[in-house]
Each structure stands twice: as C-alpha cells, then as structure tokens.
Symmetry: C2
C-alpha cells in the first residue's frame, strides 16, 4: 500500500464503530420493514409475530401501513415498544413460561376464522420459538421442557431438536400458517440462525415442515430418551402431521427474509469501502468456543500483516454467527467480549490491528453491554492498570476487563438480532 | 461459475493429494538444501544440526558439497537416513533423554577449536530443542525437566518457556554459535513455528538471545514455581549470559530459512492454480483446539458455497500451523484427523466440499499415518458402515474412523516438518 492512508490509527476505533452501526442499521426493523410491505388486502389485515425483534417490527409496520389492522405480537422482556393497534405481549426467554403459552393461544385466536380475502402478516425473529410455545393437546409445558432438557444433555443436534419440538407443539412447524387458512400469509423474518433456513428461524411456525412423527420417535429412540408417558403417547398416536411441503393450506403463504447476518455484514463491508478499507467477509455463521475462534481469526489477521494474505492491508475481516462460552469462572462476561479478550492475548499487542466484537441485539451475555473494542495497546494498558488478561479470561471476566479499560461498547437494546458481529481491522 | 469445470468432482481427492505433495516437496531437504549451499571455505567444513529434518538435510548437503566435510547431526527416532561423512545420531522426542545430552556434547565438540578459515553449517529444524539438550554446568536433565513441567502446568506461554530454557542450557540461545567462534557459521533452518522466528526454532542455538537471566528469574517468580535448588542457584549466579544481539562472537553468523509453513502453502497454491482453482491462504500458523478450528474453517467453506465469499468457488482454502487436541477418550487419533472428523460433522455432507488435513512430517499423532481426506459423502458412507462419527470424535478415535472408510492418507515419514497442512476444496 503506497500513498496516503485514508484511515489513520487514531480513527481506527471510530471506523469500527461505524461498521457495527451499519450492520445493526441493516437489521433495524424501522429501516427494513417498510420496503417489504404488500398492498393492503380486500379483507382484514391481522399482524402476529414472535421474537426479540418482533415488537419493533410491529411498530415499523404500524407506522407505514395505509389501512386498518389489528393483531398481537410477543417479544422478550425489555424488547417491547409502544404500538397503537397491535397488542404487544412479553414472555420469558430462553426458557418459555406460562406467558409464552398465553401468547401462543392469543396468536392462534387472532388468525382463526379468517377469510380468503384476509391477510396475515407474521413477524418472525430469533427467540420466537421460546416466546410462543404451545404444547400439543394432551401435553404440558413441563412435558416439553423435560424432553428439551434430555435432548440437550445427550448431544442431539439442532435439526434433531427441532424435529421433536415441532411434533410436540400446536403452533410450530407450519401449524400457525395452517391455522390461518384460508387467509393469505406473508411472513417477514429476521434471521439469527446459520443458513437462514425459514424452517429453523423460531421453529418455522409459518413454513412447511418436512420432518415427521416417525422421525421424532426415532430420535428419542436413538438417544434412549425416557420421555414422559404423555409425550410417548402423543408421538405414537401421530395425529395430524405438521403441514408438509405442498400442503394446500400453505399454498398462499409467502416468506421474505428482511434481515440476515450476511446482509448486516455486507452493510459493514460497504462502510469499510467508503473509507477505502478492503472488506473480507469470512463467514456469516461462525460457531465454536469463543476463545478458540479468537485464536483462528487472530492467526488470519497475523497472516494479513506478515504476508498480505488472504488480502493485503488496509483491510477488515468481518464475520458473524454465534460462538459459545464454556463457563468455568465466576466473572462477568459474554461470548463477544470473551472472544475479544482471547484475541488480544493471541495478537500479543501486534501493531496496526484493532477489533470490535458485539452482539447485534446490544446485549452480550447477561449485561446491558453490546461488546468491546481491542486496540494494539490493550494488553499494555491493562498491564499498566495491574489487570491480568490471562486471569480475566480464565475467570470468564471479560466485561470487567474491558470496563476497567474504558473499552466497552454500550448501545442499549437494539430491538433486533442478527447474532454476533466481529470486525478485525488491519491497517 | 459458467463454462467447463476443469476439476470434476471425481478428481477432487487427487487434486488435494497433489497439493499436499507440493507442500511437502517445498520443504523436502533434498530439493531445497542445494540452492542455499555457500562456496566451500579455505579451512574445514563442519556440519552440525538437530531436528526431525536434520538428517535428511545432512544427506542433501553431503550429496551436493564439492569439498571435504565432517560433522554430527541428531535427529528423532525413525528420521535417520544414511550419510557417508556426517555422523547421524538419534535421540528421544519430545522429551529429551541421555542421548539428547550425548548428542549436544558431540555437537559442541565438533565446533570447538575451529579457526577463522573454517565454516560451520548448522542444520536446524523442528524438534531440535529436545533432541539436542545440554544442561548448564551444575544442572541435570532432571532439573530442566522439572522446571519444564512446572512451566507447562502453570500456563506459561512459549516465549516465557523459551527464556527459561535458554538460561538453563549450555547450547541453546546462541551458545552453539558462540562455541564455534571464530569460525563462520551458516544456519540453514526449516521452520515449524508460528512467525518463523530464528530465536524460537529449536530454541535458537545459533542466533542471539535478547532475553536475560533476570527475566528467567522473574518468570519463575511470576508463576510461583518452586524450582530445584540447583536451578535457583544457577539463575541467581547468572554467570555467562547468552549471546546478545551485537555479540562479536556471532558477527560472522548468517541465517537462512530454507523452508517454512508459508512457502509450503504457496507451493500448494501454485498447484491449485494449475488446475484453475483459486487458492486462498488463510494463515500459516493456525493454533487452537482442533475440533473448534474445524467449526471455524467449516463456516468459511459454507460462506464460499452460499455467498461466494471470501472468494468464489472453485477455490481452495489453505492453512498451516499446529492445532491441539485435548484428549478425553481412548481412541486412536491425531490433531489433523480430529480436525477432519469435526469438519465433516460441521459440514453435514454439504455438496461440493472436500478436505485434506495432514502433518507434513507424515505422522499425525502417534500413528504412522499422515492424515486423511473428507468428501461430501464421508458421513453417509460412515453411517452405511454403522460408524458413529460423533461418538468417534468424542472418543478421539479419528484414525480408526478414517481407516474404516479407507480414507487415510499414508505417506511414510517425510523427514521434514513444516507443521500441519489443511486444504478445503470447494468446487
């Protein structure tokens, strides 16, 4: 790179913040919902929905909808916003409670007895599966939870968990859309899952479910799960399958992904290009233990500095997805700040590298903190303050670490969620 | 991608093998040593060396050296090759034994009493630190081992370990070069360490050591290590520092990196280009838990397929470095095959993605197997054979898994080592 550098080192952090803001803006319901709204129908318009972003989506819809509408949407505590015509409910997340069940009933009620002239708009986003939970007839929430816990313990993968869940539910796996028949159904979805599969986002209440009761039984058998008797009986009866692809009741359903992790990363990439920084999107769906992910991405950043590969600096390596933290200590942390602390240790103060990692919903872990920023002098500043970075990582105490450095990123709840955002800037 | 694909799916595995062969060839002493040989000196030529590749380096040198020479080189068991004029010793790896000490004495003897007209050629490669181990006067191998174990247990990083080791050694940290003074010293090195730092490869026996006795003491204090009394006394005496940068005894030393992980990856990249496959080198030094690294690189491969980013297919993602395996089971495995098994699980049979991972020394783990190959049908074939991929991974049993599939990569010892090689091919 010859010539004048457009981004000076002292502007690095500001550029990272702008990229994160661009990513969140690309998933902001107020900005993205309007373009996806259809013409009002001849009949009624009923809005339903579930998810952390769904109240904000409802507010945006209400603000731009030219005709009459009504409806009910459930969101997580802290994510509610004021709506005039759409009722906003709150329920527990990530473990469903009685409010989740009441919300699911209210939503099914809202879409029942509609006519072919009516339109249902379903506002679906991450978290919707827990927030809108209705056990199939004869089952209780406790039955479902027992099976969920057993599946988690035995290491079932997400596809297996979803198959069983959908067959214990009265609303997931396309049943909400079937309940709305013969009305038209338009789903507007914000994805927080790897692959953006509509059948996976909030367990796909409005899309066909290719899995079957027989498969759900086979999964419980495979892992030797001792399910409650009511669950065994329900799966054995196999009454009323979930709607399958081609089901005529879902023939008038449309689905639009209005925000995704990839689109958010592309917005950040565009922001980088404006500053003449080459963006490289590594992946929209990185999973894995946060501290190990940090070592891998740190190694790629070092390769940029040493060899100008996979791209030459000045550049930014962007990634999304959702890492995990195996909690061993008792500190205050979150997966994004744990990633950053491990990244700082991996980079060992290497020159010209900055990084930002944050949860796009504004809450990393349990704290009202979105994430943090790492700079080349992070370790040196920590040492000067008597902070032991390795010890903080061992104690899962990254929020405290970055708080002491004044390097936290605080946005407040963004009321959307396209998962984690990571940017590593190499000048 | 329009037009004819030059690499058909049935050629994918063969292309991966060719890329691995190209990577190993780029580090093959027989191929790379000759170009780095200097003019014979007016005086004697003495060859010394230590490392897994050092016997093969000696053989290559001998075959191309126009004048008289003598010397002694130590390598690991199984890595010896026949030399006519250079004596080849074997010692234990990774934990040094009495043979390591005898080898170090023989090497110091060989370079003592030389004149300014003489030339020492030092052949250094990975493993040399353990294979050529000589405790400082007053210390025993057991003393050094006790400190090493304590440092490992307390989580000291590699730089800290090296600082202490160099100050407990009579040959590391430039002392070999100092012993050869006033002869000229040319070091030919094959790197297996992240960053290719000459002071780190085999603990830098022929390069200046910027670290000090005081720093070594501070590291033991920092971790509260109860070192043997002889070690404490030796560090406190601080007699005869390691040669520092600018030391006149090392003024006639030259150092050449004749093979590195990066050069090996670049050779594989060139092989890919010949087949019109775009190569992308992600990093020459990826570290981290093998199964977690697999999830990250798998996510990047999925991004290639879904979004054509960070590059469009057909392409190959190349990386080097050294992952780790936290052993929890009792199966037969190695870090490269563990990586591959986790990658297969992460990719879930995704179409058009193949991968090869192998240790460039030909030995992944304790087995005489270099690595393995994953194809889109790996999981399906395993299932057909009644193999449980998840269980095999949980039991660290990846060698058995790939053996059952006939997907192992067996090369025999390559007698060189530029660490791990990973290639993920997306057509």
């Amino acid at each position: 790179m010859s010539g004048e550098l457009l981004v000076a080192p002292e502007q690095a952090e500001e550029l990272l913040r702008r990229m994160f803001q661009a990513a969140v803006a690309a998933a902001d319901p107020a900005k993205v919902v309007p373009a996806f709204l259809p013409e009002p129908p001849a009949g009624r318009t009923v809005v339903v929905g579930a998810g952390k972003a769904s109240a904000a989506m409802a507010q945006a819809l209400e603000a731009h909808w030219p005709g009459p509408l009504s409806g009910v949407v459930v969101t997580a505590e802290g994510c509610a916003v004021a709506c005039a015509r759409i009722r906003i409910l709150e329920a527990a997340h990530p473990v469903p409670d009685a409010r989740s069940e009441a919300a699911a009933r209210a939503i099914l009620d809202a879409v029942s007895s509609l006519s072919p002239e009516d339109l249902v708009i379903a506002l679906i986003s991450g978290g919707g599966s827990a927030l809108m939970a209705l056990p199939a007839p004869g089952l209780t929430l406790a039955d479902k939870q027992a099976v969920n816990r057993a599946l988690l313990r035995c290491g079932a993968d997400i596809a297996e968990m979803n198959c069983v869940r959908k067959h214990l539910s009265a609303i997931k796996g396309g049943r909400l859309a079937a309940a709305a028949y013969p009305a038209r159904v338009l789903t507007l979805a914000i994805s927080d899952v790897p692959g953006d599969d509509p059948a996976v986002i909030a367990s796909g209440p409005t899309v066909p479910d290719p899995t079957t009761f027989a498969e759900a039984r086979a999964i419980l058998d495979k892992y030797g799960i001792e399910a409650p008797a009511a669950v065994r009986a329900h799966l054995a009866r196999a009454e009323e399958e979930t709607p399958k692809p081609g089901d005529p009741r879902l023939a008038r359903c449309a689905f639009a992904l209005i925000a995704t992790p990839q689109k958010a990363l592309e917005a950040a990439a565009a922001e980088a290009r404006k500053a003449q920084i080459t963006p490289m999107i590594l992946s929209d769906s990185i999973e894995g233990e946060a501290r190990e992910v940090a070592r891998v991405l740190g190694a790629i950043a070092r390769e940029v500095r040493r060899f100008g590969q996979p791209i030459a600096p000045p550049c930014v390596l962007l990634s999304g997805g959702e890492t995990t933290v195996t909690v061993r200590g008792d500190g205050k942390g979150g997966r994004n700040v744990e990633f950053l602390l491990a990244l700082a240790l991996a980079l060992k103060g290497e020159r010209d590298i900055w990084a930002l990692a944050a949860d796009t919903d504004g809450i990393d872990g349990a704290e009202p903190i979105a994430g943090a920023i790492v700079s080349p002098d992070t370790l040196a500043r920590a040492q000067a303050l008597g902070l032991d970075a390795k010890r903080a990582l061992a104690n899962n105490d990254a929020h405290s670490f970055f708080a002491a450095l004044g390097a936290q990123l605080i946005t407040g709840p963004t009321r959307t969620n396209v998962n984690d955002f990571r940017a590593i800037l190499v000048l």
